[in-house]
């Protein structure tokens, strides 16, 4: 994420990321990986595209062994994943971190007229970081629609019909995957290994 600012000297010993950000990141990485792999297991039971005869994901991407196991994992992780997103959202709001975590007009200006290439990377990074939030919320929203279509039929209606709902829910998979790659590359470009390390464990002890 993008809190490394140019003013911070690389020799400073204090970690770049706060402990709550590290915890959020870890829980997110683990729960999201479980969601994705068990989700692909569920997908394989009846592929969105092509039905039963459609293309299936290979076993090394799957979690759960079969449909029932995939559903167990998916339901086990969904609460953790959603609550993690919720508390971090509240934390960002309460500590007013949202003001410099997400994309702002200054980032757009830096991209258009800025001369500093590093500043541009920060701007790109914040755009990507901001874009993933609605994608994750969309994954949860469409997930609730498929989990409880009888209790929340209006969610299904939001997307037209059941098939469209499935397509949108599944489309969040490549979006999240793409985000993870771009997010990692930009973090590496912006703050090097030091920033990436700081997001996971650097100087936690």
């Amino acid at each position: 994420m993008s809190s490394a600012t140019p003013s911070q000297s690389p020799s400073r010993l204090r970690s770049l990321q706060s402990l709550p950000a590290k915890i959020f990141h870890w829980v997110n990485v683990v729960s999201l990986t479980i969601m994705l792999m068990s989700g692909l297991q569920i997908y394989n039971a009846n592929p969105v595209f092509g039905g039963r005869e459609g293309w299936h994901f290979p076993p090394f991407l799957l979690l759960g062994g079969w449909l029932a196991g995939g559903r167990h994992w998916h339901f086990a992780a969904m609460g953790i994943f959603s609550l993690n997103l919720l508390w971090y959202g509240l934390y960002i709001l309460a500590t007013r971190r949202w003001r410099h975590r997400f994309v702002g007009s200054n980032d757009l200006r830096a991209l258009q007229i800025g001369k500093n290439p590093k500043r541009k990377i920060y701007a790109w990074h914040r755009i990507v970081y901001t874009a993933i939030i609605p994608i994750l919320l969309l994954a949860i929203f469409t997930g609730i629609g498929m989990y409880k279509p009888a209790q929340f039929p209006w969610i299904v209606d939001c997307f037209g019909d059941w098939f469209a709902l499935r397509v949108v829910h599944f489309a969040t998979v490549p979006m999240v995957f793409l985000f993870a790659i771009v997010h990692s590359l930009l973090a590496l470009k912006a703050g090097g290994e030091r920033l990436v390390n700081s997001m996971f464990w650097d100087e936690m002890l």
């Binding site: 009846n46 299936h56 759960g64 079969w66 559903r71 209790q151 059941w162």
Partner: protein, 240 residues
């Protein structure tokens, strides 16, 4: 043995497709080493999941229905765990028994003379697909009322002519859109869809909706066997 738990019926279409998609190494990895963890994940979180489902479930509120024009006749896939049973309609009786004051054994004509409920609902399969279907039949709660369940009754078992079995919570049985259907999409229920009587409801996943139901047993306690797929680790409540 590392086969998925439904290997009891290795030649079903679903299993053949599943097997075709798996490499031998993948079978070993996903089947054996993760089964333990999978059951752990299921056992650890299913009680919580069930509580959430029961909390969300409104036992007397009807789920919005669809117009007849929304029916998707080609989307309802026939999923059968075993075989299609042959049922002699003249000797057929629907039994309602268990902890009841007035056990029933009804022939089809009697069942079809009872108040009829027709509905166009979304049928959702655990595999992920769904189909909008019209079902008509007798509301299950009318049959239960007629049988006069004793005070402690909390569950219903459904036994089918093909050996399939299921159990439900009583609140879901008493939901106004839970019916024993004898009609599909405006025509008599086809045999492959469960004729003469099958469960139909918008509030449960497809595997809860037994076909060829011959017996409903009302009980106060669940037995160790809770349902064909549940006994192979599918979730029991399976509410929608």
């Amino acid at each position: 043995m590392s086969l998925p738990p439904n290997s009891a019926n290795p030649l079903s279409r679903r299993n053949l497709l599943r097997l075709a998609g798996y490499s031998a190494g993948g079978m070993l990895l996903t089947g054996a080493s993760l089964t333990l963890l999978e059951n752990l994940a299921g056992r650890a979180t299913e009680p919580l999941n069930q509580k959430l489902e029961e909390l969300l479930f409104q036992s007397q509120t009807p789920v919005p229905e669809f117009p007849v024009s929304a029916i998707e006749p080609e989307k309802l896939i026939v999923n059968t765990y075993g075989f299609t049973p042959e049922i002699d309609l003249t000797s057929f009786r629907l039994t309602v028994d268990g902890e009841v004051g007035n056990p029933l054994a009804l022939d089809l004509v009697t069942v079809q003379r009872m108040p009829r409920k027709s509905m166009v609902i979304r049928h959702v399969c655990v595999e992920g697909w769904a189909a909008i279907v019209q079902w008509a039949g007798v509301p299950l709660r009318d049959l239960i009322q007629l049988a006069q369940p004793k005070p402690g009754v909390r569950y219903a078992y459904f036994f089918s002519a093909d050996g399939y079995y299921e159990s439900w919570d009583l609140a879901s049985c008493l939901h106004p859109q839970t019916v024993l259907a004898y009609e599909k999409n405006g025509a008599p229920l086809p045999i492959e869809n469960g004729a003469p009587l099958r469960l139909a409801s918008p509030i449960k996943l497809g595997y809860k909706l037994s076909k060829w139901v011959t017996r409903v047993t009302l009980v106060s306690q669940l037995r160790s066997r809770r349902g064909y797929w549940e006994d192979q680790s599918y979730e029991w409540f399976a509410g929608l």
